[in-house]
Amino acid sequence: MIDPKQIAENLINGQAPKVKELVEQALKDGLTPGQILKEGLIEGMNVVGTRFKANEFYIPEVLVAARAMHAGMDILKPLLAKSGDKPTVKFMIGTVKGDLHDIGKNLVGMMMEGAGFEVIDVGIDVSPEKFVEAVKEKKPHVVGMSALLTTTMPSIKTSIEALKSAGVRDKTKILIGGAPITENFAQEVGADGYAPDAASAVDKARELLQQR
């Protein structure tokens, strides 16, 4: 009988083929996809996030763990969809207009996925109009906006204003981040929260969701 802890353990160590094998075996053993996701993959990514936040894990280790997570997710996703056990939280993320940086955005996306959220990545250089359109269409619970440059920080403000004008600002929580961003700035531009790193972003998103 496979213990989901073994899956978490191998995920933390970035063993993608082993995670895939164990997930398959666990299904054969009769574990539910939901249980494997929660106690195996999400639990493993939680540990990765915590270690990353504490500077015990470095970016390449996070990336290789995320790869292992995906190896397991690829098997679970269709089963979860069938069983109606879909992720309950939709998280949308994009880098704002004029900004081409995607590393931070991708890390946050991976962590959110690892937390069991459905992640909708709208990409880089996302205009306010595109945010509005995407929020209207996908109805995310939380929207993450990233800006890595002092020059593109104002795009966060214009994006939030665009969501306001379109009447959808209050339908979602807005979480922002990126090297030059501060808590102060988040308050100034009317975001709901700020996270200094990818692991904190998950905590912050959970916190915002509780406020709903």
Binding site: I59, P60, T150, P154, A179, P180
Partner: protein, 262 residues
């Protein structure tokens, strides 16, 4: 190699606090410290303060040059802030930066020409950041062409072909090094890069930065934007220049040793 000190940048919280409170003493101290550690030029950025950036830039350029007799890199995407800095700058400034995006260079290059400045040109265009050495090289050629059309000679153009973190894009460092070699085949063109980005997300960054600086020097880099107070980077530059015959009779290396600066 031209060493440009990176520390007067408003994304650093301590600097930004000094900018907001107009604490010239602190900023001048950072300037003096960098020059004492071998910086030949200083980058100045106040871009986090969007509202009064031109006014701040003018102040920043004046207070820094009041204290250290070096040229500055005026760092802003905002043409008004650039002009405010260029207007009061003494000597030949370097403008940071243009890209190969037309709406950006068309506003900035006339200023570079007007104030007889030099310019840092990033290999980015409307399509984004290139991934391969060849694409970087093609954009560099385009940048040299458009700067020439604005009357700026190739020797005053510093091409920055953008270093990515090796932690997230392991193949990009070798592409960058190859791009440097290609760009150095263009007559008179200078090459520049920031260093610290390469080690993002990894432990012992200063070791990676120092090793990387030796590699880029070997590939022909002409100028680097660094933290000159980081001893391991500084030492690696001295050692690499001696090894590459860019330090006659290893004089600078030996002198640095005698002053216990290695």
């Amino acid at each position: 190699m031209l060493i440009i000190g990176e520390k007067i940048n408003s994304t650093r919280q301590r600097i930004n606090r000094a900018l907001i409170s107009k604490d010239s003493h602190y900023i001048q101290q950072v300037a003096v410290d960098q020059v004492a550690n071998g910086a030949q030029v200083l980058d100045v950025n106040c871009g986090i303060n969007i509202k009064n950036e031109p006014e701040l830039m003018s102040w920043l350029v004046r207070i820094v040059q009041e204290k250290v007799k070096v040229s500055l890199v005026i760092d802003s995407p905002n043409p008004d802030a650039l002009e405010a800095g260029l207007k009061v700058h003494q000597g030949s400034a370097i403008v940071n930066s243009i890209t190969a995006e037309k709406n950006r260079y068309e506003k900035i290059l006339p200023l570079v020409k007007k104030y007889q400045a030099k310019v840092i040109a990033l290999t980015i265009d409307e399509k984004g950041m290139p991934r391969t050495a060849r694409e970087r090289f093609d954009l560099a050629k385009k940048l040299v062409k458009v700067t020439a059309e604005h009357g700026i000679p190739a020797k005053d153009v510093y091409i920055d072909s953008l270093v990515h973190p090796v932690s997230t894009e392991p193949q990009q460092v070798t592409e960058f090094l190859e791009a440097l070699r290609l760009i150095k085949t263009l007559p008179d063109v200078q090459t520049i890069c920031g260093l610290s980005n390469v080690s993002f997300g990894l432990p012992n960054r200063s070791l990676l930065n120092a090793t990387f600086v030796a590699m880029v020097l070997c590939s022909g880099l002409d100028a680097a934007i660094i933290d000159p107070t980081d001893k391991s980077i500084r030492s690696a530059i001295k050692a690499a220049e001696a090894l590459l015959n860019r330090d006659q009779y290893c004089a600078s290396y030996i002198a640095a040793h005698r002053e216990s600066k290695l």
